[in-house]
């Protein structure tokens, strides 16, 4: 576990997600094994191959699935207490279609705010402000089905940021977004005071991060400062990419 101090670490009152010996499996298949992670840094990146268990780890942290062995806490809250978790954690799903619940942009944005206990009028006003701030006021009444893939992805991000949870889990936040949107969003994310835990296939995205975890077949393969983990990860990926078939795949 990296023991750092400095601007990247939040105070001890801002404890992040904690996994103790946590594992997850479905039937005979084990997907995650024996994870011991104290995720207290402000910026944490997660790298790993397709199917290595990154999304599953995020769902575990968000309390959307329960560990089949070991335990998970978030800021001292048990993840099965969904209401309390709202303050603690927000998650951006990998596939926007899996995240969007309501038929119009406005309803989608307002829902999370209502869940946090704000009144309908407040939620509506906040929704309008968010859209206006992003130059997308004309989206309010739009049907989500008519938005393009990237536009839907962006909507999901706005919905999470609006709820301002202490930790934000991002599952490939920039996949499918165009360059200007990516740049703006990266700036916005950089500026957020909250803890970010970001899954990506692009190590370059993790510049300025305090910690990087490399998942491999459901286990932690490396965990530490970006300068240590990323070069090793890159080298291995390029080595694998140069070979001709996935003889290494077990799943």
């Amino acid at each position: 576990m990296p023991e750092q101090t400095g601007p990247d670490q939040m105070g001890p009152d801002q404890m992040g997600p904690q996994l103790v010996d946590a594992g997850y499996g479905v039937g005979q298949i084990t997907i995650l094994v024996g994870l011991n992670l104290h995720l207290n840094e402000r910026r944490i990146g997660i790298l790993g191959r397709n199917g290595s268990g990154k999304t599953t780890l995020l769902r575990l942290i968000a309390g959307l699935i329960a560990p089949t062995s070991g335990r998970v806490w978030v800021g001292g809250v048990d993840p099965s207490d969904r209401r309390a978790m709202l303050r603690e954690i927000g998650i951006l799903f990998q596939n926007p279609d899996h995240q969007i619940i309501f038929p119009t942009v406005e309803e989608e944005l307002a829902f999370g705010l209502r869940q946090q206990g704000r009144s309908a009028a407040e939620a509506k006003a906040a929704t309008r402000d968010i859209l206006a701030a992003e130059g997308r006021a004309h989206w309010a009444k739009a049907s989500v089905a008519t938005l393009s893939h990237g536009q839907r992805h962006y909507l999901c991000l706005m919905a999470i940021l609006a709820m301002a949870p202490a930790t934000i889990l991002l599952d490939e936040p920039f996949a499918g977004l165009d360059l200007p949107t990516t740049m703006r969003l990266a700036r916005a994310l950089e500026a957020t005071p909250q803890r970010l835990i970001t899954i990506t296939h692009d190590p370059a995205m993790l510049a300025g991060y305090g910690r990087v975890i490399w998942l491999d077949a459901g286990r932690v393969r490396a965990d530490g400062a970006p300068d240590d983990v990323i070069p090793a990860f890159r080298a291995e990926m390029e080595h694998l990419g140069a070979a001709d078939a996935d003889t290494d795949l077990t799943r």
């Binding site: 769902r59 969904r82 209401r83 995240q99 619940i101 946090q116």
Partner: protein, 196 residues
Amino acid sequence: MLTLTSPVETALHRWPAGVKLAALSVASVGVVAYQMLIWPAAVAVAAVYLLQGRDFARHGLAMLRPLWMIVVILALWHLWTGAWAAGALILARLVTLVALANLVTMTTRLDDMLNLLERLASPLARIGLPPRTLALAIALVIRFTPVLLAKANMLHLAWRARSARRPNARIVLPLVLMALDDADHVAEALRARGGL
């Protein structure tokens, strides 16, 4: 989704939904219990429709159109058996009751209906159904209906992208699976944002 509320604004639109529903219940029970009320009720209902203007009355008539076949059949039946008076009463009762109920539907906006429903259902909170859950359930049905259609279209597109033939029975199961997966995803999305 469009509703069956009449776009022609009438004075009845401004009545509280609860009052309209209570009046409907009383009137319906009365008409069913006392035969002598049938004709006066029929005339009264017709008058109410006409008083709201021509467009509204025509809209009301359109709402009764699904009944025309049974009305014709019943009429013929009673003409044939000779029990004319009894037949007329049965027909008048059927049409009056349906028209009366339609009147409430046509003059009550969805919002007002939902508010009334929420109040009527509030006692259910004690047996584990809070009004918010019911409201969310209704919102979800309204969401899923177009989404199911869109998914069906999407699946159709996916099929056509790789096949020259029209989709056959093999597509039914994937469609159901897709819908169920969607329900799972929405369940998870709900949990991710605070759950029920």
